[in-house]
C-alpha cells in the first residue's frame, strides 16, 4: 500500500464516521431526507464561498455553505407552516431550486476554476491527498484529513456532552420540554452539525454519497438493534467497513471511489435487510407464516373443544368446515399432534388433557380480551413451533 492509498482510506473512514453520528439521529427522527435536501442545497453556498475564498477547504466557505444548509431547513419549515403544500413537497421544491441555482452559477462563471458539476455530485477522493496543509514549509498531511478530523472530533465532543439531551428530545419531545431541554435548540443544533458535516464531506465524497454515508449505516444498524449506544457504534463500524472495502473495490474496477463506497453500503444493507435475526425480511416472513399456522392451530383446538359430536371431529370434515385447504389442514393437524395437543383415533380428532388445558386457558384469555397473553403461554405448551 502506497502512502496516498493509506491517506485516502483514512480520509474515507473519517468521513464515514463523521457522517454516521448525525445520521443515526436523522434516521431516528424520521428526518433522513433532510440530509438529502441539505446536501443539494449547500451548492450555491459553496459556489459563492468559492468565489470569495478560491479555496474549497477554507473554513469560511464551510461555514457559509453550512449556513445555506440551515436556511434550507428553515425555508422548508416555513413553506410547510403556510399549509400550502405538505412537508415532503416542500422539501422536494426547495432543494432542487437551490441546487439549480448552484449549477447555473457554476456553469456561467466557473469555467476557469476547478469546480465542476461532476466534482460536486461525486467528489474526488483520489485527489484528496494532493491538496496538502503546509505550515512553515512542513507538510502536515492532506487538508481534507484535517478538516474532516476536526469536524469528527467536534461531533464526538458534542455527542458526549449532549447525549442525554439528544436521546430524550429524539424519543420524547414532550418529556424533553418538560425537563427543560428545548427540542427546538436540539433540532437546530442537529441541523447545524449535519450541515457542517455535509459541507466538509462534500468536497471529498460528493453531494449524494454524503446522503448514503449518513443514512445507510444508521438504517443498517437500526435493523440490528434498538439500543441507541449500540446503534451508534454499529453504524460507525458499518461506515468504516464500507469506506475501506469500497476503496478496494474501486481500486479493482478503476472506478469512482465514492460510488463504490455507496454500492458497498447498499450491499451491506441488502444483506442485513434479508438476514437480520429479528427484523430481517426472511425472519419477518418466517414469523408471519408461523403466526398464521399457530392461529389456525388455536382455531382448530377451539373448534374441537366446542363440538362433542363425532361428525364435527372427523378429519375430512375439518377441511370443509373450517374452510382450509388440504395441505394447510394437514400442517396444522401434524403440528397439533407433534405437540401432543390432540390425538387421532379412527380418523376422529380428540383433545388430549394437555390440549384441553391449553384450549381452556386460551379461551379465557380471548374472552377477557387478553389475547397477548397467549403468546408467552405457547412457550410452555409447544415443543414445536409452526
Amino acid at each position: 500500500m502506497s502512502h496516498p492509498q493509506i491517506e485516502i482510506q483514512l480520509i474515507a473512514a473519517i468521513v464515514a464516521m463523521a457522517c454516521a453520528i448525525p445520521g443515526v439521529f436523522l434516521v431516528l427522527r424520521k428526518m433522513a431526507l433532510i440530509s438529502d435536501a441539505i446536501s443539494h442545497s449547500i451548492l450555491p453556498g459553496i459556489v459563492l464561498g468559492f468565489f470569495l475564498t478560491q479555496d474549497l477547504n477554507s473554513p469560511l466557505l464551510i461555514l457559509l455553505a453550512a449556513f445555506t444548509g440551515v436556511i434550507t431547513v428553515v425555508l422548508v419549515e416555513f413553506i410547510q407552516k403556510t399549509g400550502l403544500v405538505k412537508e415532503d413537497t416542500a422539501i422536494g421544491l426547495v432543494f432542487p431550486a437551490l441546487f439549480s441555482i448552484g449549477v447555473i452559477l457554476i456553469s456561467k462563471n466557473a469555467n476557469d476554476v476547478h469546480l465542476d458539476v461532476d466534482a460536486v455530485l461525486l467528489g474526488e477522493l483520489a485527489f484528496a491527498p494532493f491538496d496538502r496543509l503546509m505550515m512553515n514549509g512542513t507538510d502536515l498531511g492532506p487538508k481534507s484529513l484535517w478538516v474532516m478530523g476536526s469536524i469528527l472530533l467536534a461531533t464526538i465532543i458534542l455527542l458526549l456532552l449532549f447525549f442525554k439531551e439528544l436521546k430524550i428530545s429524539t424519543f420524547d419531545a414532550g418529556l424533553s420540554s418538560v425537563l427543560g431541554i428545548s427540542p427546538v435548540v436540539m433540532h437546530y443544533g442537529l441541523m447545524s452539525v449535519s450541515s457542517i458535516t455535509v459541507v466538509g464531506a462534500f468536497d471529498a465524497v460528493g453531494a449524494i454519497l454524503v446522503v448514503a454515508l449518513m443514512i445507510a449505516p444508521a438504517a443498517t444498524a437500526y435493523m440490528l438493534t434498538e439500543d441507541l449506544k449500540k446503534m451508534i457504534l454499529l453504524s460507525l463500524l458499518f461506515g468504516v467497513l464500507s469506506a475501506i472495502s469500497g476503496y478496494w473495490v474501486a481500486n479493482l474496477l478503476d472506478a469512482s471511489i465514492s460510488g463504490s463506497i455507496a454500492t458497498t453500503l447498499g450491499a451491506i444493507f441488502l444483506f442485513v435487510y434479508l438476514f437480520a435475526p429479528k427484523k430481517g425480511l426472511i425472519s419477518v416472513l418466517y414469523r408471519q407464516k408461523q403466526q398464521r399456522v399457530e392461529v389456525s392451530l388455536i382455531t382448530l383446538l377451539l373448534h374441537l373443544n366446542r363440538h362433542e359430536e363425532e361428525s364435527e371431529r372427523h378429519i375430512n370434515h375439518l377441511q370443509e368446515h373450517i374452510n382450509w385447504h388440504a395441505v394447510r389442514a394437514k400442517t396444522v393437524l401434524d403440528l397439533a399432534e407433534k405437540n401432543n395437543l390432540v390425538e387421532i383415533r379412527n380418523n376422529i380428532v380428540l383433545l388430549t388433557p394437555k390440549g384441553l388445558l391449553f384450549t381452556e386457558k386460551s379461551l379465557q384469555y380471548i374472552l377477557s380480551n387478553k389475547d397477548e397473553k397467549i403468546e408467552p403461554m405457547k412457550e410452555d405448551f409447544f415443543l414445536f413451533r409452526g
Binding site: K86, D88, L93, P96, V117, M223, G259
Partner: protein, 373 residues
C-alpha cells in the same frame, strides 16, 4: 441567440421545433402525473425513483453497448421499478420509516450508477461519451424518435388515466372507502406508481436524474394553489409544466453552457413562487390581506360593543357621551371612530359621540351572534 430569436427560429428550424415539442410534452405529462404524486404525499418518491434509474441506464449500456435512448430508458425503467418496489418492501416489512427507505435507495442506487458510469468511462473501446447527459439533461440531444416516444407514452398515460379516472380519484381521497367498495386498491396503486415511474424515466434525457423530481412536483404544487378540483388541477399542472418546459429550453438554448434541467426547474420554481404568493384563495398575499381586514373589522366591532355597553345604561340610546370615557378602552383611535361614523353607526359632534339606532342594532346583532356561538 436571444430569446426572441429563438421563438422566431422555432417556426423554421427543424431541430428547435423537435426540442421544444419534446420539452412541452414532457412538462405536460409530468404535470399531469405529478399531481397524483403531490396529492398522494409521494413527492419524494419521484426523487428516489429518478436517482434509482441511473444504474439501469449504465447497465443497459454495458449489456447492449447501444446508445439508443429507447434501450437506455428501458434499463432506467427496470431499475426505477426495482428501486420503487424495494422502497415498498422496506417500509412494509421492516420498522424503518419511509424517509429512511427513500434516502437509502436514492443514494445507494445513485452511487452504484456512478460507479458503473465511471467504470464505463475508463473502458478503452466504447463510444461512451454522452452518458453523463443523464445527470443534468440536455434537451439539445433529443431526436425526433425520442419526441415521438414521449408523445406515444403521454397518449397512453392519458388514456389509462381517463379509463381509470374514477378509481384514481377515489383512491386519492379515501383509500379505505375504495377498499370497502371492492376495488382492487393494490392494482390501482401499482398502476399510478408505474405511470409516475414512466413519466420520470421519460424526462431523464431532458432534465437529468438529479432534478427530475422537481419537474414532477413543481407544476402540480403550483396548480394546487389555484383550484380544489382534481381535473382542473391536472389540466392546469399540465399547462404549467409545458410552459416551463418551453421557456426553460428557450432560455437554456439562448445562452452558452446552460444545462436544460436546472433552467426548467427554476422556471417552474418561479411559477410555484408566484402561485404561493398570488393565488386568490390560498396565496400568502391575499391571506395576509384578509387577515388584516378581519383584524381591523374585529377592532371596530369591539369598539362598537364597548359603546353599546355604555349606551345600554341610558334610556335614550342616542344620548351623547364624551369621547374621553372611551379612554379606559384601548381599542379605539381617531381613525376607527371616523370609520364607525362613516358606517353610520355613531355620530360625532365635537368631543362627544352618540350611538345611532343603526349602530345599536348592529351591536345587538354581534352580541347575539356571540352568545349563540
Amino acid at each position: 441567440m436571444s430569446i426572441t430569436e429563438y421563438f422566431n427560429l422555432l417556426w423554421t428550424d427543424y431541430t428547435l421545433r423537435t426540442i421544444t415539442l419534446g420539452t412541452a410534452v414532457l412538462g405536460a405529462i409530468c404535470g399531469m402525473l405529478g399531481s397524483f404524486a403531490v396529492l398522494r404525499k409521494q413527492s419524494l418518491l419521484g426523487d428516489a425513483i429518478s436517482h434509482a434509474a441511473l444504474p439501469g441506464i449504465a447497465l443497459a449500456f454495458l449489456i447492449t453497448g447501444a446508445k439508443d435512448s429507447g434501450v437506455l430508458l428501458m434499463g432506467a425503467l427496470v431499475s426505477g421499478l426495482v428501486g420503487t418496489f424495494w422502497i415498498r418492501g422496506i417500509t412494509n416489512k421492516t420498522h424503518l420509516k419511509s424517509d429512511t427507505a427513500l434516502g437509502l435507495i436514492l443514494s445507494v442506487f445513485f452511487g452504484f450508477g456512478m460507479l458503473l458510469l465511471t467504470f464505463i468511462q475508463k473502458q478503452p473501446n466504447a463510444n461512451q461519451a454522452g452518458l453523463d447527459k443523464y445527470l443534468f439533461g440536455q434537451a439539445a440531444t433529443l431526436l425526433e424518435s425520442d419526441v415521438l416516444l414521449m408523445i406515444i407514452i403521454t397518449a397512453i398515460s392519458l388514456f389509462v388515466m381517463l379509463l381509470f379516472w374514477k378509481e384514481f380519484k377515489i383512491l386519492l381521497f379515501d383509500a379505505e372507502y375504495t377498499k370497502t367498495l371492492g376495488f382492487n386498491t393494490k392494482f390501482i396503486d401499482v398502476l399510478i406508481t408505474f405511470l409516475i415511474v414512466l413519466a420520470i424515466v421519460l424526462g431523464l434525457q431532458t432534465v437529468g436524474v438529479v432534478l427530475m423530481s422537481a419537474i414532477l412536483l413543481a407544476p402540480a404544487a403550483a396548480a394546487r394553489q389555484w383550484t380544489n378540483n382534481l381535473s382542473i388541477m391536472i389540466l392546469l399542472a399540465a399547462i404549467i409544466g409545458a410552459v416551463s418546459g418551453v421557456l426553460g429550453t428557450a432560455i437554456s438554448a439562448s445562452q452558452n453552457n446552460l444545462s436544460t434541467g436546472p433552467v426548467i426547474v427554476l422556471v417552474a420554481g418561479v411559477f410555484v413562487l408566484f402561485s404561493f404568493i398570488f393565488s386568490p384563495t390560498r396565496g400568502i398575499l391575499f391571506r395576509e390581506i384578509r387577515l388584516r381586514k378581519n383584524r381591523a373589522d374585529m377592532k371596530l366591532f369591539k369598539t362598537l360593543q364597548f359603546m353599546y355597553g355604555i349606551a345600554l345604561e341610558h334610556e335614550n340610546i342616542s344620548h351623547p357621551h364624551a369621547i374621553r370615557i372611551l379612554n379606559n378602552f384601548q381599542g379605539y383611535t381617531r381613525g376607527s371612530l371616523q370609520k364607525l361614523e362613516n358606517e353610520g353607526w355613531i355620530t360625532i359632534q365635537g368631543q362627544q359621540w352618540a350611538m345611532t339606532a343603526k349602530g345599536y342594532k348592529q351591536a345587538q346583532e354581534i352580541y347575539n351572534q356571540k352568545s349563540s356561538q
